[in-house]
């Protein structure tokens, strides 16, 4: 049974079919992270994929930038309930990276500079659903938004789109990452409100 809050609703926000349940539209770009912002020089940056066999495939920044680059226009949704519609990014598709990796893994752990981790099933990373992004709105990605590069998995809550990404560890079994150990859902689908445990 719903509880009604007397007098509430006068300032209700617009609704939009692009908004998942419980979200509201924001025009700015909030920053949420658990600690200080790491500052990573692209000369020091690398992206590593470790498969379940232990084999590591690695790209330097220059090697990474030589891969096919895609433009991505998408909506993004934060578990703290803001959504941002029609954002534009540039990055390398995870499909492109996985072409170089021999793996049958079903899960991945995403690792970031600074120690952050988050788990994402491989089916959410494949088939044009995820990128390593290095530009936002035509500009290099700011450090506070994860620059030089962040994961972009726009169909999941944005804590899965790990900032300052440095690589993936591919796994046969699922395991919780940082926020998942601290109370957030193992999957994070905004449309079914997979927010918490």
């Amino acid at each position: 049974m719903a509880v009604f809050s007397r007098g509430f609703g006068a300032r209700r926000r617009e609704s939009d079919p692009r908004l998942p349940p419980g979200q509201y539209i924001t025009e700015d770009f909030p920053v949420l992270s658990a600690g200080p912002t790491p500052r990573i020089d692209t000369a020091e940056w690398s992206f590593d994929i470790r498969s379940e066999s232990g084999a590591v495939t690695s790209w330097s920044w220059d090697q990474f930038m030589a891969l096919p680059i895609e433009d991505v226009a998408t909506d993004i949704h934060c578990v703290t309930r803001w959504s941002k519609l029609g954002t534009s990014w540039r990055g390398v598709s995870i499909d492109t990276l996985l072409e170089h990796v021999d793996s049958d893994a079903d899960y991945s752990m995403v690792h970031s500079y600074g120690g952050y981790t988050t788990n994402v099933p491989m089916e959410d990373l494949r088939d044009g659903r995820a990128w390593v992004a290095f530009e936002f709105d035509g500009e290099p990605l700011d450090p506070e938004h994860g620059g030089p590069a962040r994961l972009l998995v726009p169909h999941l809550y944005f804590w899965k789109s790990a900032k300052w990404v440095r690589g993936l560890t591919l796994m046969g079994d699922d395991a919780p990452g940082f926020w998942e150990q601290n109370g957030y859902n193992m999957h994070g689908d905004p449309w079914t409100e997979e927010r918490y445990w």
Partner: protein, 241 residues
Amino acid sequence: MIVGDWRAARVVDVSDATATARVLRVTVPGWPGSDPGQHVDIRLTAEDGYQAVRSYSLGSYGADDTIELAVDEIPEGEVSPYLVRDVRPGDELEVKGPLGGYFVWRAGGVDPVQLIAGGSGIVPLMAMARARTDAATGAPFRLLYSVRTGGDAIYRDELGMLSESGGVAVTWAYTRAAPPGWDGRVGRLDRAGIEAAIWSTDRMPAVYVCGPTGFVEHVADTLVELGHDARRIKTERFGGA
């Protein structure tokens, strides 16, 4: 962390904290208790069924089923103007939580703790300061609280008492205007001001920083520059509306 389902709750007390913020006390039957620093989701439902949910930090902690929120009004917001201007004792809303298992402090440790708040970022840190004061012994606490003016400080009187009683050493920083009699600097917290107010790096404090994004970015960057271990700095940024 405990989440649970939505719980019906009733506002039992409201009081003005600043010109733009109010402290709400809300009784939540069945409330499972919370750790200092956790937050809740608040759900409001209009008479026609329209709903909105926002997260708010808890200024309270522990098992008491009356929890405390301090809400600062975001003028163009949808929920905070209602909570700051319209809500009165007896009104109903729903609460889910407590939420968050990371930005918390639990009594028992002896490591020095440094709290650094900007504006309404004081709320979860207040829960930690209260928990430390109630525990009476253990970790030494310092709080650095940056506000625009003296009148913008939430929990101003209680923080004054905590500081005088020696439980938590409070340092104020004023960015726009200081209260009468203040002989310190006025302006954005700078590196020297932060360094002078907080535990030194050799004490290896656990640091909690909470406030608006720009404040937290600036303070956390400065702490790292000063040599504090990034792994011991926990941040919570206010990003939404």
